[in-house]
């Protein structure tokens, strides 16, 4: 997986174009506040990403520190073909994999453990919310429509409290779903990159992603409804 790997266009890139260019120039110039902003934004997420590959929390923390050194050393050749976030994730994943191999563990844990991430069918929305099979009409239709979230302004969706809630929800997912959501939606890796890292098929990847997202959506729905 190269730093210039094709990214899917829908994903958030953190900083927008010109803004990111300025930010990178500041980093290259050794601007400390810019670095503080960078680590504030990414460090904790990187530790979680590293934990996909190395179990020990202290080792994950070490791997991320190594990755930061790699980021600083590589800054001059970062060419903005990918977003900064994606580039950093790539560096980190390479380190984490090297470290995992050294510890004779090259397969992510989720690939080794049997969890309920894939085996059982889990409906995206509870069955009770749809008309049953013996209903007179609209079988499989909504009993009542989901409340749209346009009344919950983006600020609420983006509030720290909501973030914490989403975080807790992702942490509670079965490991295989969590890893996929983490790589795809938090770190912006492509489906192909995620499949090869986790050694799963395209279909598995998509099912795991869907189940993970569906659970987070449900948790958000309950949360925004004040339940």
């Amino acid at each position: 997986m190269g730093a210039g790997a094709v990214r899917e266009t829908t994903h958030d890139t953190g900083h927008g174009g010109g803004d990111e260019t300025q930010f990178i120039s500041a980093l290259r110039a050794g601007d400390e506040p810019a670095f503080v902003e960078l680590i504030d934004r990414y460090h904790a997420g990187m530790v979680r990403l590293a934990s996909v590959f190395v179990r020990d929390a202290a080792v994950a923390e070490e791997v991320v520190q190594e990755a930061w050194v790699g980021v600083l050393r590589g800054l001059h050749r970062f060419d903005a073909r990918s977003s900064l976030k994606h580039w950093i994730s790539t560096i980190l994943i390479n380190r984490a994999k090297t470290r995992a191999v050294r510890e004779r563990r090259s397969i992510p844990f989720s690939a080794l453990t049997v969890d309920t991430g894939f085996e059982l069918f889990e409906p995206s929305v509870e069955r009770e919310r749809f008309q049953s099979d013996d209903a007179d009409q609209w079988r499989g239709g909504w009993v009542s429509f989901p409340q749209d979230w346009t009344n919950a302004p983006d600020e609420q969706l983006l509030s720290q409290e909501t973030h914490n809630h989403i975080h807790a929800c992702i942490d509670a997912l079965p490991a295989s779903q969590r890893d996929v959501v983490w790589l795809r939606d938090v770190h912006g890796l492509t489906a192909g990159e995620t499949c090869s890292l986790l050694r799963i098929s395209e279909v598995n990847q998509r099912v795991l992603l869907h189940r993970g997202r569906a659970k987070v959506r449900l948790a958000l729905e309950l949360y925004l409804a004040g339940k």
Binding site: D12, G45, L72, G141, H163, E202, H210, R217
Partner: protein, 84 residues
């Protein structure tokens, strides 16, 4: 093509959202999906909520750092700055 409501139920549609967003649907399946979305406000809302959820998850990496880790990382940074 004549669209019957029974063609694709809401309950079936919610299982296909990621496949739709990932652009992995067969063309005729995609037509069925989009035809349903056009006439069904509930599923339109569901699809939009999945998009909002994905955007919200994408913002997650911003977390506060504990001071010890921050100091350690700042030391790495200063060292890099000194030595180029």
């Amino acid at each position: 093509m004549d669209m019957q409501p029974s063609d694709l139920t809401c309950q079936e549609l919610v299982e296909l959202v990621t496949e739709y967003l990932e652009n992995c649907m067969a063309p005729d399946e995609r037509v069925r999906f989009e035809a349903h979305i056009m006439v069904c406000p509930g599923c339109r809302t569901y699809l939009e909520q999945m998009r909002q959820t994905i955007r919200a998850i994408g913002q997650l990496t911003e977390e506060s750092l504990d001071p010890t880790t921050r100091d350690k990382l700042l030391a790495l940074f200063r060292n890099w700055k000194r030595n180029g």
